[in-house]
Amino acid sequence: MSSTCSLLGCETLDNRNFSLEDYGGPTPRWCPGCGDHAILTAVQRLLATEQLKPETTVFVSGIGCSSRFPHYVETYGFHGIHGRALPLATGIKLARPELDVFVVMGDGDCCSIGAGHWVHAIRYNLNLTVMLLDNNIYGLTKKQTSPTTPQGFKSNTQPRGSYLPPINPLQTTLGITNASFVAQTADWMPSHLAATLEAAHAHQGLSFVRILQRCPVFTPDIFTEAVKNPQITDVLVHPQGIEDPTSAGIYKSQITHDPSDIHEARRLAEACDRVRVGLFFRNESFPRYEVLRTVPKRTVEEKINLLNKEFDRYAI
């Protein structure tokens, strides 16, 4: 869309210096041990590293445990309705492309009730940083099966165990036309998480980051093995990928993967008994909706002239 055509819509350049505390909101009410805490810290660190202005940064979320996120960051935010964070974020970015917009969704939000928006937001490829905080369960409503719940996992809605194999958010996203940035990381890999968020934010286009997130209350065992045993984790590495030298000593299984290779990305994203983190795919040359939909700014006077020409066509 057009940016403002009044000077009152302009902001000034300033020399403020933001510290981590400048982004801290009220104390989060997540359960102790919830992976969301680590993700919040990583995001706040990113804001400070990138010196994003609190007043031009917006966090948008849906409904669920993770969707309380915007309340805990001292920026603008919109805590919307279940599954609909992406349409809200799309509107914000279309109206105000200069704002830095982050989207926080849970697995229910993104992969279930809002799955339609997921597909299309990926295709619009607006410049958004999208985080899927995936704990494999509905937490806020107390342990119902989510689309990413492992097959056989018992929940309150499927007490004999989840009937179907889970949806694969990475592969799904990699299958959508115009997907331009797809990465995976985990709440228990702080330096990798930070590096991934940094790359995602720097990406021009929609960056989709699935963050594996522990729920100590309802899915304490799902990620236990991955947390305890670094050997089952493969880290995708490449000069064009996500650089995380800090955790290289712990996660020794490294796969060199060129993130421009979509076929290899899809293969690596296939479900298997390994946990794969890193940058699966990136292409910054894909069309971005808010760029394509940039229109000239018009003053009221210009609009009146143009509208009058339209009225001429209908004049008697």
């Binding site: 869309m1 057009s2 403002t4 055509c5 009044s6 009152l8 819509g9 302009c10 902001e11 009220p26 609190p54 007043e55 031009t56 917006v58 966090f59 948008v60 309340h71 001292e74 920026t75 603008y76 935010g77 919109f78 805590h79 919307g80 309705i81 609909r84 992406l86 349409p87 809200l88 974020a89 799309t90 509107g91 914000i92 279309l94 109206a95 105000r96 200069e98 704002l99 339609g116 928006h117 597909v119 299309h120 939909r293 229109v295 000239p296 700014k297 018009r298 009221v300 006077e301 210009e302 609009k303 009146i304 143009l306 509208l307 009058n308 009225f311 066509r313 209908y314 004049a315 008697i316």
Partner: protein, 630 residues
Amino acid sequence: MSCTPPSDSAPSTTAPTAATVHTLPEHILEILSDSGEGAQKCGQSFGAVSAKMGNGAWTVEIIPAEIQPPPRTPEGASGVRIRIGTDEVTNWGNRTKLVIAFNEQVLLSRHRVQALADDAIILIENMWETHADANIRQAWADAFAELSTANYRFIQVPMEEECLKIVDNPRRGKNMFALGLMSWIYHRDVEKVKDQIAMQFRHKPKEVYERNVRLLEAGIAWAQTHLDFRFDIPTGDVSEDLVVMNGNTALAMGAVMSGLELCSMYPITPATSVSHYLSSIFDDMGGVVHQAEDEIAAIGVAIGASYAGKVAFTVTSGPGMALKTEFIGLAVMSETPLVIVDVQRGGPSTGLPTKVEQSDLLSTLFASPGDSPKVVLAPSTIEECFHCMITARQIAETFRAVVVVLSDANLATGQQPFSRPKLQANWHALEPNLGPVKDGHQPFGWDAETGLSQRIVPGRLGGQYTATGLAHNEDSHVSYDPYNNQRTSAMRSRKLAVLQSTLEPPRVVGPESNDLLLVGWGSTRGAIEEAAEKARAEGLGVSSTHLTFLSPLQPGLKEIFSRFQHVMTVEINYSDEADDPYINEENRRRGQLSWLLRATTLVDVDCWTRVLGQPLSPGDILQVIKKKLS
């Protein structure tokens, strides 16, 4: 040529000595064809030309639900009714007096719904009578047997034969030939007709225009040689600049003028043409039409955009409104200003997608979780479709409110001339001020008296807050405090009462106190007022009033109603008839506005409603008045 069925008479081949000219204050005609034969284009052109000549005009499209329904079927009938008059025309009138039909089946569809006057003149394509296909010949004969119950005067016109002299595919030319017939019959200014054709084909090669003009002239020539009658509808004075367009175009232009810059929508009949027209002009005017992936995303994007800056809007119809209800609740709760246009159609469910109904009033008022007060406006003319967008946007901003504009299929596709708006810069939204926020300014700093608060948009230094659909306090912090919820619910509701305090009581047309008051809303205004006027001319004590604000309602209704013996709404939605089986005073489900008025005024407001999928006719309303007062 008398009113004998065509199967018994050959068309006249000799020119009548002189056509008799009937001068009339108004006339109603229809052009009917199979879908795709261009009757609608022809009819709308005729309406536009008539308006341009200074006649009052009102056009109503007759639209099949499918894009390409089977040819030669009553349900596939596609066309336009045009009512023209010397004075202003405000509705589609009663029965059609002249028809041009491209086949007998489409004619049957209108005959069966009693749309045609008993003495209507019918010009009909005669190729079917002698068609090679025996089934078609039989269908023709059967149709005329059915049509013979009326006293129509049939005139056979060899349209196909005449058009073949000019074009190879007469399916793509008959409508221009028909326009020629109509132009001659009604003394239309041929130059104006040609201008209209030129405008219609302005993006096509010149040959296309020329071919169409030849067809037009052939129609005129045929009429001149073969018809023994003409109608003259004297034109009134055109003292001011007028424009003629349909309601959806007017809505789109109103949206641009009001400074709305993002229209987020999903295709749905009959609302879509707002975005069609808007898409053709909006980019150049600094606006964006966003076609979302679904109805829910459409409103979500609009709410996101509104939250971030200038008010945005979405355009939809009944089923789309149903899908949007959860998001409407979010906009109400987060007090994000928003304009929603609902171009109503027949329901429930998919219902009658292309036809008119006024059935979304109550669902608009109440269909959202919890108490979600919103503003509802209803334009009653095509002119108001333009102007109401400016008011809607202003109210949305001032009251941080959701404003729903209820239009309908009748306004959406009808054409009517109206005063050309003299565009004013003050109609346009102001740019958001991104200056810093003063210390202590809360995102929901409700004024305890009015419930109003000052919105903060992102980008403003020191204004950071998180909008939320959860119950919240002044700082937009989530609050489950019971008294907070009671108080903030009151704050959101209070805004409607405050808005109502700025409204004037509705105008009563006719005597201020009387036997019967008709109450309407939306597109039925012209028909109701015309019927009431006719009734008064016959000595009946009838007045009428038309409501444009439905939430909050305009003030003073109870007092106005008290001055009348009877009060009755006239609406295009469903109500039980009082004397239907099982129906009694208590269980009778009433017209939506009457339901609302009874609840708010405690007056025994009766209703008369129809869901025929067509506009109301003044003649039918007149009958209702007579029955009510008998």
